[in-house]
Symmetry: D2
Subunit: 352 residues, 4 copies
């Protein structure tokens, strides 16, 4: 297969850099365009960007000239790492112009005809693409979104339990990493020796996105029927670089023992892995037995950052079960998630 | 009033040092004895101890000779900062020998005839002292305990809500400071860029201690009737020096709005403050309105570390209300709490 | 004495907040004006400012209306916490308008007729004020500056050695705290698990400022004769909140043993303390004997943040002596230093 | 080539774990024995060890039974990650019993007949092995050591300058990572928001080891003639996980410009790389031009942790040149260095 030619919108930010880093060596894609805000347009990428992912930006990307975030990019597919306030309009323009838009932004996640997609969770939601094109009069382009970084880990852990036992209520507290706020992001004086018990907009996303992700799509022209569950979230910023750790309690529709829950989690198989997607991890849910795991620094890179790690599955004296889940926020929860979405779309034939 | 002569058991550890630091300048007490484990006995305090609270150990304490943790100490009251595995036996010996024992250890917290005490929450539980003496045949000594550091902040915040609306269920996730594990305690490689989602024994304590603290004492010779509530806890160690931050959700017995809850919290008055106890903070519950407070580094020293700070009071979509609470773990949650207990006992006449 | 009425230029930043915090309770001063950049003018202080020094901004300051940084402020003396790019012009305007300007900015530090002042080091340099007024045609106002935060600690430690033995060469490496960069300042992703071996402009300041501070003033109308020494500096940002720690090696003009050096350091007496300045620490140089001190978190608050702490005085196999020095960068090295300068000027009669 | 069978002494510690991690996938070696202290002997490795390098210990190592640190191990070569107090005797026993001992411990580094080896710096020092065997009556075994972690990065950066210009004096201040102290190592309360300006024994090692590494070996039966230079060191522990950053000033024997120095550093070629050693990095010295690099978190993994990174080469106003050097302490400075030593010995024919 010839690699798909891809562009990156918002290429200079933290998530944009992750896209570049993760696409390096991915056999299904080739980066052919980088786009960012006006202040970077026309500059070589390495000048426009304070590269923060590792020591050096990949050589072949360094000298690429940053372009504007608008149609005209030499590629078939764009990954959008744009901030929400810009993503809304630009992504529509790009899709209308015929680009497959794989967005990490929140702008269109809840649009009725836009898939909010985790390949292991709701691969059938890509059916919405046909409806989206029809409704909007697009012949080739489309928008597919991945959820918020803190939603992704949670929903991957909930999925096997939801399938096996249904879930009625979810209580989650997050301990989120600094990279989730981008760069420069959180000031160091707010981080060192501190916890900030608030992340703007985050709790609202966590309350609704899982319901769409776990929701049913009964007919190709319907909207997704939101899963019938109540979610309550408390989001905190802690002093870690990468990796969102979450403590979760769930009330199940049908009672289940700890052993049954662990069995459901361990038995879960990755659909995109079966389809040969190169970024898919198997197992995508790693269940650890130690009493003190997952830990952020030790476990966030499991499955090259694409696995979610579950530990401390135990009874809850208020709801039914409690556990801890960890996932890598800028890989699984952002750039890596969007890339896996693109791989699923290729495997399903939506992108050629 | 002549100051009470006090000794400190476990004087060389993190909590022991806090006792010394907090008793400096407290007009009701005078340190006359320091005791620690065998390896320190006979040494001047400053040699036996790696002083970590601030630049320098108080001068008059530096040269005091460390004694054994056994009767014979020249004092009327002892504060126990002993580890639980030693506290059980030693505290009994000291009480039997006539000392007032104010313990920070968990060993006797759940004994039927031992008060588990927060002066602002359940000052009437000190009535158990009479029962304790009678049952155990002690004429003068007794044991009074303060709760676990992560329980203290939680229960102080729950108390006004419990009084006003009853509480049926509590879901709490803690983000606890490093000093809670003592010194050397948590290895730096476990802390930097990491979260450890487990603290041995902590969740068990948080599930039971609040029920005794909020429980009723119907007659002096009864045991405390545990409050009828279910608690579920998830405890995490994060990279902060001091200050346990907790995200809390509660189900109330009687519905209340956010405003009513905030009113109850803000109206709460400190009983030991009214009694003139020098360590009592007023207000003891500080409610903050900012969306991102309390923050550990900014707020932990409120009320000289004796206040608890509540913020983000808001509706919960699974239970009824959510909020964040912060309290200083080695002051309010340990040494400061025990000292305030001692002050209450003096004010109530149990110690003379 | 009636307190001097003071204003603060740049009141909303990190150093501005420190001025407010330190002036609280200082009997010689009363804050009567706050000034900051246009975007804050007209707002109550607590709205214009993200208060970061502690839990709460002093009550009487909260509602003060922020004014513009220009003449018209109701005060006799202004402390300038302005950034260098604004301080140059504004401070001249204020001095011309008759204000005593005590500046923490670098703009005028090296002007021939402006004292660069540390009260314990070169109190006689205030003689330059007369020359400054005469030359510039000011009748009442003047500018006095304090050195860069990393210079202050170094020079205080050098002063007794310079007086006793002369100093020919100084090699210094700094490990500087995050607060030195202000707020938002250093991004947390640049700080966590990292060292940044560069601070813009810092090494240049450290190479020249000590020479002026230790330089001689032979006649009131001369310029200061720079001390004849060579200095080499390497400045690093590390993950501490407050407190610049520096490793120093010196070559002396006249050989001295470790004991002689320690004796000189320990014998040093604070001139402003003798004059009754309320912010002066005595001893201002604390020499510690332990092999692993000073440590940033333990020692930075010595002398209420106004002392410098010296440790590990030992022979150097390349130059003559090595030692470690620590000082609090936003207290001793900035706001506290400027306040002590003002106190000296009051004691010397320059401000009435 | 059949892989060499290797054992690891001190396999359960931080450096031991790094050996296991780095030997994974190294084609020249196969781990066949793990040894540690008595308390671990007889246990499966994963039970004896708190694995901290990454999420999981390599599968084939997990169940290996830990043996005692004494002859009888099924291997030809042992890597010693023993603490110095045990290494002295055990390494002698192993060498006498015929094992090639590649030691990271300090015990024998300064023995006249023991090579202190960095393959890129002094590969000819392996000639001492013949002398060692003869003198001690060993027919097959031998001991080769690698330097202290903070020495390694320094000397690699000094080597090209020493060869080109000679070096008379070196002044170095280190900012060392937590992993250098092992596990549990530095307590988190000593690390968070702190610098500890002292590391026991470290400065002494840095003063002497570079002189042996850069020293000449005139005849196979001579001792190494120490390089004629004076070194002064100040060692600090900062809050980074891995990577020792050092600020260095040097006085050269023959003056050189910054450009000449950079040219010498950039032209340096790795001898072990030319010999095909799989762990060798090329370039082994990475010179960065940015004003704020190297940074610990961004650059420590350069060359898979086997390169040293030099930046900020500039004139020194006290000596001649200043620069910053960073190297990965548990890879380049410990386990990786010892493995590369073993690879050199294989390439030179000392190990077959």
């Amino acid at each position: 297969m010839k690699p798909i030619r891809v562009g990156i919108l918002g290429a200079t930010g933290t998530v944009g850099q992750r896209f570049i880093s993760l696409l390096e060596g991915n056999p299904w894609f080739e980066i052919t365009a980088l786009a960012a805000s006006d202040r970077s347009v026309g500059m070589p990428y390495h000048q426009a960007c304070t590269w923060r992912v590792s020591a050096d930006c990949p050589v072949h990307v360094r000298e690429m000239i940053v372009q504007a975030c608008e149609p005209g990019l030499d590629c078939e597919l764009v990954f959008s790492a744009l901030p929400a306030e810009m993503a809304g309009v630009i992504e529509l323009q790009m899709a209308q112009a015929g680009y497959a838009v794989l967005s990490n932004a929140s702008s269109h996640r809840l649009d009725d005809d836009v898939p909010l997609l985790i390949p292991e969770v709701n691969p059938e939601h890509t059916l919405l693409i046909a409806q989206q094109r029809q409704r909007r009069g697009w012949d080739k382009g489309f928008i597919v979104t991945n959820p918020n970084c803190s939603t992704t880990g949670l929903v991957l852990a909930l999925k096997p339990l939801y399938d096996a036992f249904k879930i009625r209520k979810v209580m989650v507290t997050t301990l989120q990493a600094l990279s989730g706020a981008g760069y420069p992001g959180v000031p160091s004086l707010d981080s060192l020796d501190n916890v900030v018990p608030f992340i703007k907009g985050e709790e609202e996303k966590m309350i609704i996105e899982p319901r769409k992700l776990l929701g049913g799509l009964n007919a190709p022209n319907d909207a997704v029927e939101l899963a019938d569950m109540r979610i309550s979230a408390a989001c905190n910023r802690v002093a870690t670089r990468d990796g969102h750790l979450e403590t979760v309690s769930v009330e199940l529709g049908q009672k289940a023992s700890v052993e049954e829950a662990v069995y459901a989690l361990r038995s879960f198989r990755s659909a995109p892995y079966r389809l040969g997607c190169p970024s898919a991890a198997e197992p995508v849910i790693v269940v650890r037995d130690e009493s003190d795991r997952p830990q952020t620094v030790l476990d966030r890179d499991s499955g090259h950052g694409m696995a979610v790690i579950v530990g401390r599955v135990r009874p809850c004296s208020v709801l039914d079960l409690k556990f801890v889940v960890l996932s890598h926020n800028t890989i699984r929860g952002a750039a890596g998630g969007a890339i896996l979405n693109a791989e699923l779309l290729i495997a399903q034939g939506w992108v050629k």
